[in-house]
Symmetry: C2
Subunit: 343 residues, 2 copies
């Protein structure tokens, strides 16, 4: 059980952050309203969860968009789809008991009634509760499974990571270090360059906004990049892809660099690079790998216990912070995993 | 031993097709001259090979270019790099004996003195000799290993192949049929559409020059494309990539659609498709897989014996046909694997 649980209340009404208009790009405060409902009652097979930490994730942009990607768009007028850590207040399911802390798709609201398929993880590892929306949230698990299953790094490989100080990238770098890689982080400010080197242990870090990125990557990876874990796409991807070593692996985990995909933006053609360098370019979505979730959390918690994995949390207070939080993320205003304590 | 060996002569001089000027795009007749040398003598560890069939391959464009891709450019003033089937006339190597038929990098010339590392395959399977530059040449082996190792088709998958009637594509379709795939060929003329359906057994074939390719692919693959074996890149790739099923595999085996890579042509960005559809896009070059060559030929010869694999040869006569042959290939003038009998 988690050793560090904040005090939280049980309000009598359910406040919800409702998606009221459809964003075309990044969701802004104006796309949301608040409402209140009564506390919902669980039916047979369901549990009532009191949310404690709402997770703010880049993927929410895609979930709010009108264009289905890997999941259906969030319905207008309903609570924003989102991950959260919460506690079971009432259980009518054999899967979970009252008092259990869970992490799953509980939405941006105080209370959620869900079936067990909305739950990603029961928070059993010996970690502070916020870690279950970070190290053991989709961020840490994405970093761990995306890197190991698709990136397949070997000791001595050069691993480049974009949004290197971000909620996924910061874990990729640390896990890569633990696997014996030379780690090079790409990030967007000198402050984050420092964070990469001092807190997240990158061997090198580059401010892509001020550096000559091509020259800088070549200098840090003179024999080519073996694994590129990409959270941005766009011009950064174009540059690193042309610095890949033969048989290099690119893990496409996010596409934060493009604010709109309609019309489809253009860029340099990559098929010749893919072929002549014999690259493997794969897309990663953590929801494909939920059967590995619990064992990934065990591995990640073990790294924390060993002292090789640390995390930063950018904790906001109060559900009223939620509507602006996704945009803040895309503006790079957070330092660490963005979440909101709503206790 | 091959059962069908054409009569060939042993000329007293060695005619060579020399790369005399550097092509910027596709090699044309004007980039080559002819010369003659004496018959070279093998040193210790070498063999003298009399070439019988010169193979004409799309990859020769890349080998002749000034920009190294996966191999160094062909030196100006030397014989054009090329694959050939020939017979050992004199051996000073323990690896091969006089009389052996071999397939390898023997160059566009009558005679070659080579060390065993230039040899891809000893022609031991029970096939006509020209099959060793086709079914058991890099074409057939590329089709077989590229499809099975990177495409990983499963029974019931929809497999789309570009240059479907070509020297690689025609094998991909047939091998895919044998593995239980629904096979859809893309090709550039109605005549080749017919060839795909009648001779190479595709379930469907599309003339990409006259069809609405997007609508046609969607109609033939209503649940998405599971495996796309691409020999063209360019606009055809752009279209098929957006019709891939979740977890689909793209095998990049050639990039024939672009006549120049300098400056780098642009196209729609693909990183979002890679990620949201969780695609795997890999580059295939057969030379990475030479340790599997002989067993691949055994498998391919077994398919021929079973009657599930056939091939078409576009046989030219005389070494003087060589300089125009690569351009003819890119113009789509061949019907089957292009080779030249120089006996």
């Amino acid at each position: 059980m988690p050793r560090d649980v904040p005090v939280f209340t049980l309000p009598l009404r359910n406040r919800r952050v409702v998606l009221s208009t459809r964003p075309t790009g990044i969701p802004q405060a104006k796309h949301f309203t608040f409402d209140e409902t009564g506390i919902p009652e669980p039916d047979q097979g369901e549990v009532l969860v009191r949310n404690v930490y709402l997770s703010v994730d880049p993927a929410q942009r895609g979930w709010a968009a009108d264009v289905a990607n890997y999941s259906a768009p969030v319905p207008l007028g309903g609570p924003m789809r989102g991950l959260a850590v919460g506690q079971v207040i009432k259980s009518r399911s054999e899967a979970y008991s009252e008092g259990d802390f869970l992490y799953g798709f509980f939405g941006w609201q105080d209370y959620a009634v869900v079936t067990p398929d909305a739950v990603f993880h029961r928070c059993t590892q010996d970690l502070p509760l916020d870690a279950f929306a970070s190290v053991c949230g989709i961020n840490g698990v994405t970093a761990y499974l995306g890197l190991t299953l698709l990136g397949r790094p070997e000791a001595g490989d050069t691993l480049v990571v974009s949004t290197a100080a971000g909620s996924v990238g910061s874990f990729v770098g640390q896990i890569g270090n633990g696997l014996g890689c030379r780690t090079v982080g790409l990030t967007g400010s000198d402050e984050k360059v420092e964070l990469c080197k001092t807190r997240f242990g990158y061997d090198a870090a580059i401010n892509y906004r001020t550096a000559d990125l091509e020259a800088a990557v070549r200098a840090e990876a003179p024999e080519g990049v073996n694994v590129y874990f990409d959270n941005t796409g766009g011009a950064i991807l174009d540059t690193v892809l042309r610095q890949m070593a033969v048989a290099g692996r690119i893990v496409q985990c996010g596409t934060a660099a493009n604010s709109s995909w309609s019309p489809i933006p253009t860029g340099p053609r990559n098929e010749r690079e893919i072929m002549t360098r014999r690259l493997v370019w794969s897309g990663f979505v953590v929801f494909d790998h939920l059967t590995r979730y619990a064992s990934a959390c065990d591995d990640l918690a073990a790294m924390v216990a060993k002292g090789t994995l640390t995390w930063a949390t950018d904790m906001k207070q109060g559900i009223e912070c939620a509507p602006e939080a996704i945009n803040d993320l895309y503006e790079g205003r957070n330092m660490g995993k963005s979440m909101i304590f709503i206790g």
